[in-house]
Amino acid sequence: MGGRTSPSVAQDGTELPAKVRRPIEGLATSAVEHPIQTVEKRRVSVLVASRRQFWRKLGLFLLPFATFFSFPLLVLGWSSELLSARWIAALHLRAGQDALYGAAYSNPDKAYKLESIRLHAAPIVAVGTSRVMQFRANFFRGGEATFYNGGGMVARLWDYRIALSHVPAHGPTRYLLVGVDPWMFNAAWSGSTPDAGVEQDYAGNGNALDTLQHSARVYTDYLHGKFGLRQLFGAVDRFGVNAMARNNGFRHDGSYHYADVPADVGERLGDTLDRIRTRTRRFEAGETLDPVAMVELGRLLRTARERGLIPVVFLPPFAPAVSAALRVSPAHGYMHRVAPAVSAACTAQGVAFFDASDCKQDGCADEEFIDGFHGGEKTYARLLVRMAASVAFLNAHVDSAALHARVAAAPPGPSL
């Protein structure tokens, strides 16, 4: 260590006189100790003792922390949940087509999707909340060379513009399928104001220590059997505990694979209907549209245009039972005003708009929904066929007849 002191130099750094130096240098051969030797030896032994005491104290101080964090570190480290969004996006891209990324304790989704959009460099990208995540690359001619699903990269209306500002302007991505949720236009929704720190999320400045703070939950989840070590260590091409233990997560093309969809349709829709009844969790009551949100929508469309991106806006589908409940709900008057207002805003800027919120007209059914407001792949394939019929760039990239045939031939349920 750095505390080395030459025998000819005293501990305070001053050089010792030659007379004093000699006996110390001859330490090995001298039989009788010089007083200076004794002082030096004592100093060295004090220093060594104090260093030992320091390491002992440090060890004692850190031991409880090291003990507590060792298991979570193993779980989170092995499952890649401590990696930054950039790393995860790169690893996922290099992994096989069946690779899944599903985190349970970290949430770098925004930066992960943004980085994946850059890495995939697909000309068509879907952006929105989790309600656009069922567009698959195999719906498009050229597969992943044509399409990447950026669903899950926004939560509020203000997020779109910030996210788009990170997509390379006039780059490989040219077309955007922009899904907007109706509650984004309800001033009474808890997410109806900008999120002050969201820029940090897109910049990928996530912090692994934030993930480690969930250590207590790692223990309780393990003890409750939510994941097992065998699942973790046996998983191949899986990143994140959710993907490793439950098989839930983002696919290679950015779409989401749900492994835990209940078989019973009533069970799937129950929670959403309950939200409508209790007017909570995105289904807050509201009568009028938020004018600030409408202005923000206009700014979003302008930003997209300025960056060389051609947007197509749509309102994602609700399950027919949910649509019916919203239609008769006395508390959600604003919902009926969203489509005309968004349509007007899009028309004003020459942007195509599709209202798919009531998807019965496309022939969808409750049983193909994952829950009341997340349609399955079948629902989104139908929506894409409808959009391709009137949007030239989509028509060029989608084989509508083949996709229609796939939907018709698919077994019951959300999957295609």
Binding site: G2, G3, K57, F61, F65, T193, P194, Q200
Partner: protein, 479 residues
Amino acid sequence: MLFNSLEFLIFFPLVTLLYFALPLRGRWILLLVASSIFYMAFIPKYVVIIYATIVIDYVAGIYIERSTGARRKAFLVMSLCANIGVLAAFKYCNFLIENVDLLARMLGLGMPLRPLDVVLPIGLSFHTFQAMSYTIEVYRGRQPAERNFIVYALYVMFYPQLVAGPIERPQNIIHQFYVEHPFDPDRVERGLKRMLWGMFKKVVVADRLAVIVGAVYAAPRVQPGPALVLATVCFAFQIYADFSGYSDIAIGAADVMGIDLMTNFRQPYVSRTVSEFWSRWHISLSSWFRDYLYIPLGGNRVGPVRRRLNLLFTFLVSGLWHGASWTFVIWGGLNGLFLIVESLLLDTRSRTVRPSRWGMVRTFALVTVAWVFFRAQSVTDGWHIVRHLGSDWGTLRSASAVRTLLAGAGTDPSHLAIALVGLAVMCAADAWAARHDSDVVTLADRTGSIRRWVTYYGVALGVTFLGIFGRQQFIYFQF
């Protein structure tokens, strides 16, 4: 690389252990490489800019020392121009473009100007000012030009203080790099404790308060007066906890390696006058402006009117240093005005304005009102906040009204309670340190061993389980 990140938790012990294992020259190279890695963790390409200015200033220092007369001055001007040029290009160019564009539109001149697509390099203002202090000191003959390029590069790049100070002077730090500091357990322990205390301030106090401040200041027009007051007071403590926390970590990290950095904060909120506040707040920057701007402008040697104008000018420049926006200029201007009024009162009352507890409250209130403009996203937002601090107080009549207010401010009672407990701990520690004219770590070390262990375990547990390690960067990184 953020101090409050897992990367730094691995980086710091690794670099420190290697540091003590290497001989002196090896340490220089290690620290320079480590500092480059630390800096490149933000935006890698910007390391080229910092090295370019290092080369310019290194060469300029040698030529300033060798030259005399006009040539000597010319080399200094060249070095200053290079540093200020980098600052201007990255920090002030867009500000200038936006204002010229606005003026042109007001005059009806159709020449739309687009801002440049540049990102401000992290900590640019800090390392630029540190580099400038070197060439100025060499020019003034108070510092010999550094011949060893690695040592000079280390003076600018030394990672603990690279991105947010303290802004060092060459006389204080360069000679320390020439000493092979031994592994001193007492010093290492002291440094680690200071780092822990700094981390507590950052992640428990600052980042919890930041949630409230961020929510309210993002949309101040929809917030009632009590929420604006809450967020503004929270910001006063957030910025202190954030920046002094960073300084503590930086000073502690350097201390572990045997290197002394200058004190940057001395419990500023116990100040009883605004001028006292500025002698306790961001000392390394205040003294930089004093030494290299205020005194060359005439300092206290000129008449009272000129002196006050110099003071105002210095604070306006200081505002601009913090950010290329009119909000920062107003913040600097307000502080300058407060100091001028204070000095006028002192002059007219023959220095009878005695410091008092009331003075502490008054100083805090004045400084906090100025902080509004520092934090606001625009001048109009800032002005709106100042005008509405007293509005809507009558609505706070029930517990549910308070809960609604907190929800609107992005917080809830439990979050606020943790933030307030952290704040109380920090303020109590500061008051303790101010009373004994010492620092918290030194005072804590004087207590009995059980109390000391309980204190440090308490702080460490607070950091681990009550800290927020999410998305908050250090506020001063943006400068």
